[in-house]
């Protein structure tokens, strides 16, 4: 599909790469995001990649819509030649169930599985980060087995504890900070996915490969203690 440009208000453009999510479009988006970062002309304020789109925020005092669109079209012609950025593989330790995963039993029952089977399937997959959005550092992760898919909660929880791992449909993700949210919670990770003091404040970025590794409650607490010791 050729790129489709539409205005997002008077200070941004949305570039649509495709209308369905697939690996190819994700790759093209990563390349495009890399190109935009590298060649970022001064009129670009920032670019924000999503599932099948990238928004380019621009300064209308420096350039108007039609010219910005043409410039972006020209820049993105190089997309074919651009190399795909290196893929990182990160492991996310998860302590499943119990107080950390209050919806684990629901996800199991919904799919006619035992809690153990849900954990085994969730910690066995090869995952990829499709997008960071919703909350700071929040990864939308694809690649989960459909056998453990579960609908969002009918009414969202008002407070989801930070670092909760959840499922929504066939996606999985981690809440980096405490927010309201509707995903089914199956566990918690000791990792901090949002690190505002770092130059790059999100631990994960689009394109990263991810594996979930099961840890015990004891290991979870050891990890937390270790982190607090490092922080102080």
């Amino acid at each position: 599909m050729s790129l489709r440009f539409t205005p997002l208000g008077d200070q941004a453009i949305i570039i649509e790469f495709d209308n369905t999510l697939n690996e190819e479009v994700q790759k093209r988006i990563r390349r495009a995001a890399e190109l935009l970062d590298k060649h970022s002309p001064s009129w670009i304020v920032e670019s924000v990649p999503a599932f099948t789109t990238i928004a380019v925020f621009y300064n209308p005092l420096a350039i108007l819509y039609e010219d910005a669109k043409t410039a972006l079209e020209n820049l993105l012609q190089q997309i074919g030649e651009a190399s795909t950025p290196l893929t990182r593989i990160l492991e996310i330790p998860v302590c499943y169930g119990g107080a950390f995963g209050p919806d684990l039993e629901f996800v199991a029952a919904h799919n006619g599985l035992s809690a153990e089977e849900v954990i085994a399937l969730h910690s066995d997959g090869d995952y990829a980060v499709a997008m960071i959005g919703f909350a700071p550092g929040f990864p939308f992760i694809t690649g989960m087995s459909e056998k453990i898919a579960a609908p969002r909660k009918d009414s969202p929880r008002l407070r989801i504890p930070e670092r909760s791992v959840g499922i929504a449909g066939i996606q999985t993700g981690v809440y980096p900070i405490e927010t309201p949210g509707g995903w089914q919670l199956i566990g918690r990770t000791p990792l901090r996915l949002f690190q505002p003091e770092q130059e790059i404040p999100s631990l994960l970025k689009a394109g990263d490969k991810v594996k979930f590794r099961r840890i015990s409650e004891q290991q979870y607490h050891d990890w937390e203690e270790h982190r607090h010791a490092e922080d102080s």
């Binding site: 008077d10 599932f51 789109t53 990238i54 997008m131 960071i132 700071p136 929040f138 505002p196 970025k205």
Partner: protein
């Protein structure tokens, strides 16, 4: 230092926002009424991006611990300096020990306080804006409360003298206040998914009166009125949104995304408020009414440019006066 005697309903440190980090899911934040924020700063000789205090509906009480100059802009929350009503949209000299307080909201609901030198808080991700939900930026990542001591940047004595002279002069600089209406007509461009809505809803967006719902805040304004609906139910993939995006969830009640919006959203966007009119929305309170009028993208951008020229002229005028 500013000594906070009473925090008010929601008083937070803001600048023009945190850009460059939306790709990491970090929201922009910043002043809800960027125009008022910028003018207040310019009036006291600050850079327009300097940190100000944004005060909502029920204002705070603030004691000044040094002689300085301030400017108030935005909504009129009946400001008083000690026992006298305090002017807005102009530079004002303040004595050490004076107390700024607020009364009933008269017009609008958000006031900006700029102080010569600007509020001195550390930058987080290149911005001083408070990101309330993540607890970062601004003053300790939170709204101000009584007992807080908020640092301000020092201003050299010569500069302060020129500012004080300007504040006490009969010809102090002042700019015409922006007109915040109770029932504003807000200019809106068609949104990216406008065509997915049924013909009736497309017309209703520009013909009907909407009411600001009670769950309206810095994140979004929830509107109530005739429910808007899609031609046929459609599931969209989340995509980036911006300040002023009007998205419509399945219940049909539009939500206008504001300064603390999330970076992405999955609801169809029927419209997009022209940047120039965002302050009109930011100053609305729950229960206020609003009407939309269509504007083209070209027109919306030309108006940004025209407003910028006005602001530049004001800035030039002030710079000249400061050199006198």
């Amino acid at each position: 230092m500013l000594k906070i005697l009473k925090g008010g309903m929601l008083t937070s440190v803001q600048d023009l926002g945190r850009y460059g980090f939306q790709k990491y899911g970090v929201i922009v934040s910043g002043a809800m009424d960027p125009f008022a924020h910028r003018i207040a700063n310019l009036l006291v000789g600050n850079h327009e991006n300097a940190a100000t205090l944004e005060m909502s509906l029920t204002g705070p009480s603030i004691e000044f611990e040094t002689d300085t100059c301030i400017a108030l802009s935005g909504g009129d929350l009946s400001p008083r300096l000690d026992d006298r009503p305090c002017g807005m949209w102009r530079i004002i000299a303040v004595k050490k020990g004076s107390v700024l307080s607020f009364g009933a909201p008269k017009k609008g609901c958000r006031t900006y306080l700029a102080i010569a030198g600007g509020i001195d808080v550390p930058e987080v991700m290149h911005s001083k804006s408070t990101y309330l939900r993540a607890g970062i930026g601004g003053f300790q990542g939170r709204a101000l409360k009584s007992g807080d001591q908020v640092p301000i940047n020092s201003v050299d004595s010569q500069r302060l003298a020129s500012l004080l002279k300007a504040a006490n002069s009969e010809q102090h600089w002042q700019i015409p206040a922006i007109r915040y209406f109770k029932e504003p007509v807000v200019r809106v461009m068609k949104g990216r998914q406008f065509d997915l809505f049924n013909a009736e809803s497309q017309k209703q967006l520009f013909n009907e009166l909407f009411t600001v719902g009670s769950h309206s805040d810095r994140m979004g304004y929830r509107l109530e009125g005739v429910p808007l609906s899609l031609e046929q139910p459609t599931e969209l993939l989340s995509e980036p949104v911006s300040f002023g995006s009007i998205q419509v969830p399945p219940d049909g009640n539009p939500i206008i995304l504001m300064a603390d919006r999330q970076t992405t959203g999955g609801y169809p966007k029927i419209g997009q408020v022209a940047s120039i009119d965002l302050p009109l929305i930011s100053q609305l309170k729950p229960g206020d009414k609003i009407r939309f009028q269509e504007i083209s993208l070209e027109d919306a951008q030309q108006r940004i440019i025209a407003q910028e020229q006005q602001i530049r002229q004001l800035k030039l005028g002030i710079d000249l006066k400061m050199e006198e």
